[in-house]
Homo-oligomer: 154 residues x 2
DNA sequence: CTAATATAGGACTATATAAGTCCTATATTG
DNA sequence: CAATATAGGACTTATATAGTCCTATATTAG
C-alpha cells in the first residue's frame, strides 16, 4: 500500500510539534503528554532523531530535546530516514544482492530512478511547510519522461 | 522505510514479463515457471490484477492471462494499487477517522498533497518504460513549492 | 556530595500485517 | 465427459514492526 511506518508517522508529528517551540528544551514526557502518544515510544523516536542529528539533546534536570537546525532545513525524507532508514521501494535499490533474479532483471536499473524521484518529493517538503497553515502546492506535471520514445501517457 | 510490499514488487515483474508477449495467453503455471516464483503466489497476484482489470483472463484449456490494454497505458500506480490498494502514506489520506488526533492535527491537510505527488511519480512510469532498456529520466527539480495562497485545509 | 531528573543504548517481547497455501466452485476446450 | 485453467475466499504461517523495559551516563539543584 506504500505507506509510512507508524513510527515515521509519529515522528513527523513530533517534529512538527517541536517546530512550534524551537527554542525550548522539551522532555520526552512533555511531548508524549502533548501528543497523546505512549512515552516509551516517544522516547525511542527522540533517541533516533537525535542520533540522526535532527535534534539536539540535553541531559539532567531541565534537559530535553530541541531542533538541531531550522525547521525550514529539515525535510520529510530526513525524518523518515532517521526513523526507518532511507526509502527503498525495492530491496535492490539499497541492498544489492538481496534479490535472486537481480542479474537478469529488466526492471532493476529503473528502480533507482523511480526511488530517487519519490525521495525528491519528500525532500521537497520541510517541517516548516508541514507545520504551516499554507497549502503545499505540487509543481504540476510531476513527470517522469522517457527519452526519445515520447509515448508518455496522458 | 517506505518500501513496496513484496507482492507489489512481484507484480511489477509479472506485468513486465507479460509486456513482452502481450498477445499470448499465459497461464499462472507458465509465469511462475518463467520468473522462478511460487505458483500459489503468482496465481493470487494474477487474480488481483485481473480483478483490477489490468489483465484479461480466459478459463479452460489454452486459457491464461494477457494485458487488458497497452503496456504504455498501464502505470506503476495501477499495478501497486491493484495488489495493495492505493498508496496512502498516512492513514488519514484514504481512511478518515482512523487517527485519534485527526481533528486538531496541523499536518493532516498537507498529507493529501504529498501523497498525490508521490502517486504522480508512480503514475508517470508505464510498464512499457519499465520493460524498456532505455533510461527513465526524471524531470529535474521534482519540487514541492509553498505558495502564498489561502490555506486549503480546514 | 547526594538525590532527583533526564537522555543513551540496547535487549527483549508481543502483535499486527503480510505472505503463502489450500479448498471448492465455475468456466472452457477437445 | 474428462481435463485444464481461472475465481474467490478461508486459513495458516512467517516476518517485520511496534512497544516495553533495563542498565548506564550525564546534568542540575539543594
Amino acid at each position: 500500500m506504500l505507506k509510512l511506518s507508524r513510527l515515521a508517522d509519529y515522528a513527523t508529528l513530533l517534529m512538527c510539534r517541536m517546530t512550534r517551540e524551537p527554542e525550548a528544551a522539551l522532555s520526552a514526557a512533555q511531548l508524549a503528554q502533548a501528543l497523546g502518544l505512549p512515552l516509551p515510544t516517544v522516547a525511542k523516536l527522540l533517541k533516533r532523531l537525535t542520533r540522526a542529528q535532527l535534534l539536539s539533546s540535553e541531559r539532567g534536570g531541565n534537559g530535553g530535546y530541541r531542533l538541531a537546525r531550522s525547521a525550514a532545513s529539515i525535510s520529510l525524507v530526513d525524518v523518515i530516514s532517521a526513523v526507518d532508514g532511507a526509502p527503498a521501494l525495492t530491496q535492490c535499490v539499497n541492498t544489492p544482492g538481496s534479490c535472486a533474479i537481480e542479474l537478469n532483471c529488466e526492471t532493476r536499473g529503473h528502480w533507482a530512478a523511480i526511488n530517487h524521484a519519490v525521495s525528491s518529493v519528500l525532500s521537497g517538503v520541510s517541517l516548516a511547510q508541514l507545520g504551516s497553515a499554507r497549502a503545499i502546492v505540487i509543481k504540476p506535471p510531476q513527470r517522469i519522461d522517457q527519452r526519445k520514445e515520447g509515448a508518455s501517457r496522458r
